[in-house]
């Protein structure tokens, strides 16, 4: 063959190509099932009390769009730096990835985004709605009050925040120790809110009289004054010197007035304040015994905090309760009554009873009481059921004719007393007041119901404002809905921490920063349940060439003229961002 002369140097194809395509066959008429793009709700976002769009935040982080990811948090929560550190992250408990290998470290990513924003001094680009004429007074500058003021500002309302103490932040400033939340982080977040238009008036305690006068200046009042009054033990010897309450102890430390604690400290209680007080006391050089009347697993304190407390050498005595405190020379002798589990309530929490006369005495030098707290003044107490009272998930709204509306929020009403629930409460209040001002009280509940993330109870501001999240279906993606063939096993990152020995020497922050590469690697593990991350599987596997790329935000559409409805795109979508429904016509 090589010896033969080619007939032409560039010969045409010897077999002609058909001139007519098959495009005239509208095979879409075969279809009885219709695939379509349908973004759904991820379980984490619905579990987040403030309804953060976590699947999207992780997607943006994985793409390196840190600013956009950070702004996506800010749309639902003004405190990513705080919540990335102190939130007990109920989102992670619902992560679908935990059924595959390990849950995504969502809080670590949140903190990373906040740290990155602060490092590069990013300014967030959320636009406020046009200014409205109504004004709101916010009592208390804790997380709920600040969140309410922030979301009200976003919705175009002016507000004044009144804080009794000289600095803003409430429990974030006075109740959470530095080793969990360094003060500069809080200061940064608060000043960002101030830049956004939130006015905070410090050292301005508010009296019952203020409420009466408020109607001249304000259209609504948000009460977010929290539970700052410690509950007493109500046992003999409680007023002896050396017996203090946990909240005051923490407040003192944060003020920089660090008490010397020698010897052994007993902390009474099992909540977060008790754990914080105990861990702070350890850092001041004392030996700490934590006394709790139920079992360790019944503690309302977050499990992770309890574990760290144990690591730091705190002794936990469970099923014991103090009945008497006596003073002997310079020591305190505490009589502890042994308790037993009588039964378990439906949530698995122990109901306890004293176990006969079994008692024990322990000798300590100091005693800190942290058995719970309540509102500081009785006029903070919630109204009963009556006309004009609307009970929402995380706040209670009272609307009265010719008087400003009153909203009780934060710890006064939250189902769980946590920072993120306080944020949720402030957000809910802002939305409710906006509806009240615009449409009156009748539509508050139905409007808020439409803004639920998944089945709720968390609410989304983005949905309220009619952002792209409105299009999401409320159905929550379960593990079985995912196509896990497209994911590889990868362990979660482990949070770098100070060593135990380093921790005990100071109040330095325990959890260390992570870098961008680690954050990207972690967020890439996210399944992005229910949302499209443009993986293009639907286009790739379509046997009909019926998935067409285009410029719309979805990036592609289905050409129903040819789609036969085989459903491959829906099954091969790794993250359940598509749905297959029966053809209607």
């Amino acid at each position: 063959m090589a010896s033969q002369q080619p007939l032409t140097t560039r010969s045409p194809l010897i077999i002609p190509c058909s001139y007519l395509t098959t495009e005239g066959n509208k095979t879409g008429s075969w279809r009885f099932l219709r695939p379509q793009y349908e973004e759904k709700t991820s379980p984490c976002s619905s579990a987040c009390p403030s309804g953060e769009d976590i699947a999207r935040i992780q997607m943006l982080t994985a793409q390196g769009s840190f600013k956009e990811a950070w702004e996506t948090i800010l749309m639902e929560n003004p405190f990513p730096g705080v919540c990335g550190r102190v939130c007990y992250h109920p989102c992670e408990l619902q992560c679908n990835r935990r059924e595959f290998d390990e849950t995504i470290a969502i809080h670590t990513i949140e903190r990373f985004l906040a740290d990155t924003a602060s490092r590069y001094e990013l300014k967030f680009g959320l636009d406020k709605l046009p200014e409205k004429k109504q004004k709101v007074a916010v009592i208390g500058s804790g997380p709920s009050g600040l969140a309410a003021a922030y979301f009200l500002a976003l919705l175009g309302y002016q507000s004044d925040v009144f804080e009794a103490l000289p600095e803003p932040g409430g429990v974030l400033r006075w109740g959470i120790p530095h080793y969990r939340l360094p003060p500069n982080i809080l200061n940064e977040e608060v000043s960002r809110l101030q830049d956004f238009g939130v006015r905070i008036h410090c050292s301005k305690p508010v009296s019952r009289k203020f409420l009466k006068e408020a109607k001249n200046n304000y259209d609504a009042i948000f009460l977010g004054c929290g539970h700052s009054q410690s509950l007493p033990l109500s046992i003999p010897g409680e007023d002896l010197p050396g017996v203090k309450n946990g909240l005051d102890f923490l407040k003192k430390i944060r003020r920089g007035d660090i008490p010397a604690l020698r010897g052994t400290v007993a902390v009474i209680g099992g909540g977060n304040t008790a754990i914080d007080a105990a861990r702070s006391a350890v850092r001041l050089g004392s030996k700490v015994i934590l006394v709790y009347r139920r079992r360790q697993q019944d503690m309302p304190a977050f499990a992770e905090e309890v574990e760290m407390a144990l690591e730091e050498g705190i002794e936990i005595r469970e099923l014991e309760t103090p009945v008497e405190i006596e003073s002997q020379k310079k020591d305190l002798v505490v009589t502890l009554q042994k308790m037993r589990v009588a039964q378990e309530d439906p949530q698995g929490r122990a109901r306890i009873k004293p176990e006969g006369k079994k008692r024990k005495k322990i000798r300590v030098q100091h005693l800190l009481i942290a058995v719970g707290s309540s509102a500081a003044e009785d006029w903070y107490d919630l109204p009963g059921k009556k006309r004009g009272v609307i009970k929402l998930n995380n706040c209670v709204l009272v609307h009265r004719s010719r008087e400003p509306a009153l909203v009780y929020g934060g710890d006064l009403t939250a189902s769980i007393k946590s920072v993120v629930h306080a944020v949720a409460s402030g957000k809910e209040a802002a939305m409710a007041l906006d509806v009240l001002f615009r449409e009156g009280p009748g539509t508050i509940e139905s409007t808020l119901k439409a803004c639920l993330v998944g089945i709720g109870p968390s609410l989304s501001m983005e949905i309220y404002l009619g952002g792209p999240r409105v299009k999401r279906s409320h159905s929550i993606v379960s593990y079985d809905n995912l196509n896990t063939d497209y994911f590889r096993f990868a362990p979660a990152i482990s949070q770098p921490r100070l060593l135990r020995e380093e921790r005990l020497q100071s109040f330095a922050e325990i959890n260390l920063k992570i870098g961008a590469s680690l954050a990207i690697r972690e967020s890439e593990r996210c399944f992005n349940c229910g949302i499209c991350n443009q993986c293009d599987n639907c286009q790739l596997f379509c046997p009909e060439i019926a998935v067409i790329r285009d410029q719309n935000p979805q990036g592609r559409h289905i050409n129903y003229e040819y789609c036969k409805g085989c459903g491959l795109c829906v099954v091969e979508c790794p993250r359940n961002a598509m749905a297959l429904e029966e053809e209607r016509s």
């Binding site: 080619p6 495009e23 196509n483 009909e544 060439i545 409805g565 085989c566």
Partner: protein
């Protein structure tokens, strides 16, 4: 998935393949890798229909529809004509089903490979004569129902190992591929295109109609065939150098069989026997590959 040639499209919508057709997906991927300088020979098979009646064609490349047994022979002739015309750019490919490859077209294929004709032979394997109504072929696997192995007369013979038969010819390049692994498939086609001589690619193409399964499971089933070792992904160069491209996760075959109507009569004992055969084949392949499978 990042592959630059994925953007190309040489198939039109409106073809008449069944919903969820694996063979249509296989064609899409292969043409993306081959490009427009391709002449395709299609002996009788499903694709004789899918491509559309004259003068329609769903393919944007020239196609020769030929008789059932002539896949290897026609390609040899077209290649010779191209060579005479001095066209070395155009790739000549045969696109045949399992019937036209394993059974009816085997002598022409064997002859062409023995002569080391410069072309690529693609067999899209849907494991029976699907176009004519699901009759068993020598590619139909052990345990399968077809219209010619109905009821309790299900096929009790093994599937012919076509790649090994061609490797015995010392073929320049032979590989298995699956529609569920597009990156691997397109890489193999691109590689085959760069090699001179006879090349063979065996593509597992699920058939919802013939296998009695929902159309949306097409890819899933193809993926499971690989994950369970029923259809291992590997390639052989010069008939000697074996490379295994996917190390399976050790899934058992049961799940794969449970999802398909053509296997619904099989009991636990049958499945255990099939598992044994699959393990035996896999171990044989491991030995050929030097028992140190490469992971891609």
């Amino acid at each position: 998935m990042q592959l630059d040639n994925l953007e190309r499209e040489y198939m039109c919508p409106g073809h008449v393949g069944c919903p969820g057709c694996g063979a249509a997906i296989a064609m899409r991927f292969v043409l993306k890798a081959l490009g427009e300088k391709t002449i395709m020979i299609i002996p009788a098979c499903c694709w004789s229909i899918i491509a559309g009646p004259y003068p329609q064609s769903t393919l944007k490349i020239p196609v020769l529809h030929t008789a059932f047994e002539t896949g290897g022979a026609v390609a040899s002739g077209v290649r010779a004509a191209e060579d005479i015309k001095g066209d070395s750019e155009t790739t000549v490919v045969t696109w045949a089903g399992d019937g036209g490859t394993f059974d009816i077209g085997f002598q022409a294929l064997s002859g062409a490979v023995e002569r080391n004709e410069n072309f690529i032979y693609f067999c899209y394997d849907n494991e029976a004569y699907m176009n004519t109504g699901v009759q068993r072929s020598s590619s139909t696997p052990y345990g399968a129902w077809t219209t010619t192995t109905p009821g309790q007369q299900w096929k009790r013979l093994r599937k012919k190992n076509i790649v090994e038969a061609l490797v015995a010819h010392r073929i320049a390049y032979a590989a298995t591929a699956s529609i569920a692994f597009p990156e691997d498939l397109i890489r193999k086609v691109t590689k085959a295109k760069s090699i001179t001589g006879a090349r063979f690619i065996h593509i597992f193409s699920s058939c919802p109609t013939g296998w009695g399964m929902p159309s949306e499971m097409s890819i899933k089933i193809a993926r499971m065939a690989v994950q369970t070792n029923i259809f291992p992904l590997y390639e052989v160069e010069e008939g000697i150098r074996y490379t295994i491209n996917f190390t399976p996760k050790g899934y058992l075959v049961n799940e794969y069989f449970r999802l398909q109507g053509r296997f619904k009569h099989l009991n636990e004992k049958d499945l255990a026997h099939i598992q044994e055969m699959v393990d035996e084949d896999w171990n044989l392949l491991l030995r050929k590959a030097g028992s140190r499978p490469e992971i891609s």
